[in-house]
Each structure stands twice: as structure tokens, then as C-alpha cells.
Amino acid sequence: MQLEFTHEERAFRAEVRTFIAEHYPADVRTKQDQGIELGKEDYLSWHRIVAKQGWSVPAWPVEYGGTGWSATQRHIWAEELQRADTAPIIAFSTNLVGPVIYTFGTPEQKARFLPRIVAGDDWWCQGYSEPGAGSDLAALQTRAVRDGDHYIVNGQKTWTTLAQHADWGFFLVRTDPSARKQAGISFLLIDMTSPGVTVRPIITLDGAHEVNEVWLENVKVPVENRVYEENKGWTCAKMLLAHERSGIALVAHSKVALGKLRKLAATIGEPGCRLADDPIFRRKLTEIEVELTALEYTELRFLAAESAGKAPGVEVSMLKIRGTEIYQRISELTLEVPGSHASLRVSRATAHASGHDAVAVPSAIGVADTYFNLRKLSIFGGSNEIQRNILAKAVLGL
């Protein structure tokens, strides 16, 4: 047993940290600092820089553009990206549809789609959830009917993250309505510019536009854009659930947020009675930091097991549960900082637009946005209740 990363791993961390520091686009950083919503080009400009370095799809097989990194190296890379608070590399492209295509796709599909994902030329969105399905994914009702060398697709998807930017979408659709749930589903790649595809924004409670409804009305999809066999799409969907989860515990995100919170708490209040000096508030910080440390070493422990050849199992559900709980908790504590300036919790956008940040209590700006927005963490990606169901079955044998 030993706690340290190896000399090589530490050198690797230094290398990626330097790379990020030196290459992250200054204009994107400025927008983030000012609380301006990022646009498609902001995300992609960073993706392209990473792709040029050859690191945009580290977990992929080397033949398709992967880096050949160890699990520990991938973890370090994910952590450094979180630590630097970069615009995310769109996971729907690199972690979800990419692996499905190189695992189940035809040679033509691989050649057509993979290089553009690696390079950041295509933006992918995920058409899984439906208004009537949610966590019960297999209850989906979007229909695809074969018509010669096309499918005609009709239905509605929802919670489609950043679909407003997407060039392509991967969709689960029902091709055999008579089959039982998981059977009869196919996995289609759909050009988002196809006639009949409509993307409608869903504004979340923090006022942001992150998710969308996607309506499909008589959308013609060439049969060649089906991945794997007809009615066997569930195989592709299932594979995703067990795929790359580096960073799922959000440890570096939480560390950054906790660091900011500590700084804020040290500046609020008159000198001598800073919020950071309040024993009750300080204890809350101590407790969440201990929780975060426990999560961090748990992730490392699982990582070590993975490096030693053990496949990552349902323990990732635990990392997801605790990771989201802790990150949410930090946002709760941050919400306490502005004290009674409740109504000053103006959104970042409002503050920026009105030049308000010049006069207002800076600690108040955007903290409510973040708190509201992060409620999604325990809901999306398989709610924490679903994760507990999974753990109950798999770990406890219940």
C-alpha cells in the first residue's frame, strides 16, 4: 500500500496542468469569470485545442484516437480539467456515442463519424429520455418504422442536454412495438438538421438553457445510420451505462467550490467577526471537507482496484451518490454566505447586464443560480434513488 502517485504519474499531472494553463482560451475564461453563458464555439475551440494535442478521447482504443493512458492517468486528466474549471469536453460525443460506434458500428460508420468526434467537428446530443419514461428508460415510445432504406421516426425526447448546439443525435427508438420493453429498441444516429427535427428549449429553474425537448415528426433516417442490429439497440444503451466514469465523483469540482467558499467566508463580515470565524459555520466547512476527503480516497481506492485489473462495477453508483450530495452541500453552504441579502441573489446574467456587480455584495451574485442548478445532479443521469436501488441489488444481493 502506498498513498502517493508514482513519479511518472506526478510528472504526467504536471504536464497536463501546464498544458491546460498554457492553452486554455483566454476569452472563454473571461466569459466564465463574468458569468456569461458559453456558446457552441467556446466549447469547441477548447475541444479542438485538446484534439490537436491528441487528448480529446483518452479512453478510446489507440487505433481510433485514444491515448493509451492508464486508468490513473485518465483520472488525473479528468481531475485537472475539473480543477481548472474548463468548459467540458462534450461527453455525449466522446464518452457515449463514440464508444458505441467503435464497438458496434460498421467500418463505414466508424470512418465517417469517429474522426469528426475526435476532432470536435461534430457535436452530439443524446435522445434517450422521454416525457413518459424518465428513469424507466425502456418504456420509451418514440417509433421508427422501416420504409425501404429509411426509417420514419416519430416521437418526443426530453432533457436533451445542449441539443441546441448539436449537429447529430443518437436516439433510442422503438422498432418493434410488439416486443417487451428492452427488446424491440434500435439505436439510430440522426442528423439534427433533418426535416422534422425541432429543438425546443427547456428553461430550468435557475433561468438557464441547458436542456431541451426534441420533437421528431416524420424524420427520415437512412438505415445505414442504425448502429448494430435492428431491435438490439438496448445492447448499445446498456454498454454506455458501464462506460468511462472518470470524474463522476466530482471531487475536483467540489474542491474548487470549497476553496472558493472558504475564501468568500473569510471576506464576509466586519474584520474580527468574519463568517469564517463563526465556530458553527467553520464546523460545517470542516465536516464537508472531511466528507470530501473520504470520497476522494474512496475514488482512488476504486481506481487502484481498476488499475489492478478489476473492472469498475456498481461502486460507481456510490461515487455518484456521494459526489452529487457533497457538491450540492457545498452550494448550500455557499448560499449561506450572503446572509440576509437574499434578494441580492441576483443571477450572474442580471448582475453582468446591469453592471450591478460593481455595487452589490459580490458574494451574493450567482450563488442562488448555482444552488438551484445543482439540484439537477441528484436527478439526472439516474436519480440518486435509482442509484440506491442499483446498489441494493448489486452490492447487498437484495
Partner: protein
Amino acid sequence: MDFNFTAEQEMLRDSVARYFGDHYAFPQRQAVIRSEEGWQPGFWRGLADDVGILGAPFDEAMGGLGGGAVETMIVMEEIGKALVIEPYLDTVVIGGGLLRRCGTPRASELIGGIIAGEVRLAFAHLEPSSRFNLAGVTTSAVQDGSTWRISGLKDAVRGAPFATHVLVNARVRGASGDRAGVSAFLVATGATGLSSREYPTVDGSRAADLKFEGVSAEILGPAGQGCDLLEAAVDEGVVAICAEGVGVMRRLLADTVEYTRQRRQFDAPIAANQALQHRMVDMYIALELAISMTYMATLKLDRPVLERKRAVSAAKVQVGKALRFVGQAAIQLHGGMGMTNELAVSHYFKRATMIESELGSVDHHAARIEQCDAAA
């Protein structure tokens, strides 16, 4: 011991609920908060003319309904249920409470204006570094003949864009933090030297940061001895906002129960999940306890100072915790739908979150209880 409402109080609740039902449906509210004005002068006028609740807590001699804290509680709970953003709390409860205690002819005149719907108040008590301390005041007031001159910065003044007058706590002597030397003042919103930067709040209302540069003001009460007065009025406000929180939570719970019964997953309503049922039971329990504490504090507002403060702060602690728990659970149990701006539940959640810390957070009020213990 009696926790039942009188027939008159039940009638008051019914008439308020009916009026809000008719004039404050959720889609209408959403349209209003997105509008230029951000509030409904006509609705306010109706509160005066149609339901008469702007006079609820004032003596009949002043033209009021002769009600008290219980009537305020009833109105505020309905305000919570309907997510009303108009400034009832600041105008009638806190402002009215302050003026009622002044007992001067000018105060009576202003109360008359409140009852008639013509005077609307905003309560400018916060400064950038005051946190929850009413005596954390640097804004100064200097006597100038028969008037006073106010200078300083007040921020996060809720409802200021809707108000005709602003109540300001300012300092006539001493340093920030001293209880002595603070008084309440009244400033007309159009006064010379008063500049305002307005903005929407996250829960659908409007607020402003106010800059006072030698603004002419009337003093309320004896100079420099206003802290007790302010605290008494604010305590009424704290209990009132607890009642608003109760109204908000009633809707959060009801909507969640309804949603989980409708929403099906894995061939059953999601309410069939025992883990969700137990969460809703805990929401119910949190709500019931919050109701009890709001009743208790409402009925203790006229007790001796230490007892009043303890009761009020205990209620805010209980209600504040309940708001956090019930609000988060409501969103979680609505799943993705809870995250959208479309459903009412997310707006109740946002208001719940704001009430948590308005007029003092859970930690602030817990510490205040401990101060009372130490002083007892």
C-alpha cells in the same frame, strides 16, 4: 388553550383565498413578473377595496379591521400559497407595525394611507456588511432644522420599485453595531438625493440598491432609540414570513403528492416507492411542526421581550429547516420536471429558499436564542 380560528378568521381566510384564486392564478403571476412593471397596482387596490386586508392588523379607530397577529398569519399564509410578490410584509406588517407603535398623528395618517392602498413601504434595513444585524448601520442621519438628512447605501431593498416610501434604519450617533443611536426614518421614494438601481430577484420580485445623499427624511420615534422598536416590528415580520413559508410548503407538499401519484414509472405510480412515501411523510411532519411553531410564535408576539424573541427565533429556526428540507425534497421527487421553470413547484422552491434566510437565517436565529438564554 385553543388553536381554532374564529368564524370571522375563517371568513377572512376564505375571502383572501377566493380573491387570490380569482386574481392571482399562476400563469397570470408569471406574466406579471416578466412584465415591465413587475407588479399589479390593480391587484393592490383590490386588497384595499375588495378584501380590505391592508387594514387587517390596525385598530378600527384608525380605519382598520381590528385584527391582530392571527389575522396577519392568515393573510401571509395565503400569500405564500399564491406566491404573491406585492409588498404586504413590508408595508402592512413591518411598516405598519412600526407606525402603530409610534402613536403620533403623522403615523396615524400614514396608516390611513396604507389601509387605503395609497402608501406602500419598502424596508431598507440592509447594508453591504450588516448581515443580519439591525444595528449594523453606518448610514447616517443628521438633524437639519425640522427635518433630517440621510446619507449612505442601503442594498437589497425588497419591493423598493413598488413603494411610495422607504423605511430606513439610520444612525444618529455611535458606531456600526451599537444598539444605541439607531432610529427609523421615512423617506419618499421621489426625494431629491435618492438614487436607485433596480433589479429582479431570483424569486420573481424586484429589489433595488438605494443611495442616499443628504436625502430629507422624517424621524419615527425618539432620536437614537429606535432599535427596540425596529426589533419588535421586525419580529412581527419574522413570524409573518414563517406563515408565508407555511403556505409555500403546503403547496410544495400537495404538488409533490399529486405529482408522484400521477407520474408512472416501471408500470406503477412513482408514489408506490416506499422510499418516496417515507420522504413525503417526513415532508408532512416537517410541515406540521412548522405550522405549530408559527402558531406558537404568533401567539407569543405580545409576551415580554426575551420570551418573544426566543419564541420568534425558535419558529424561524424550525420553519427555516423545514423550508430547506421540504423544498429540496419537492424538487427531487418531481424529478426532471422539478428542474423546469414551467411548473409552479420550482417557483415555490425558489421562494422557499429565499424565505429561509430573509430576516435571519437558521444559524442567526439559533444564536439569538442562545443570546436570550445568556441574558435570562
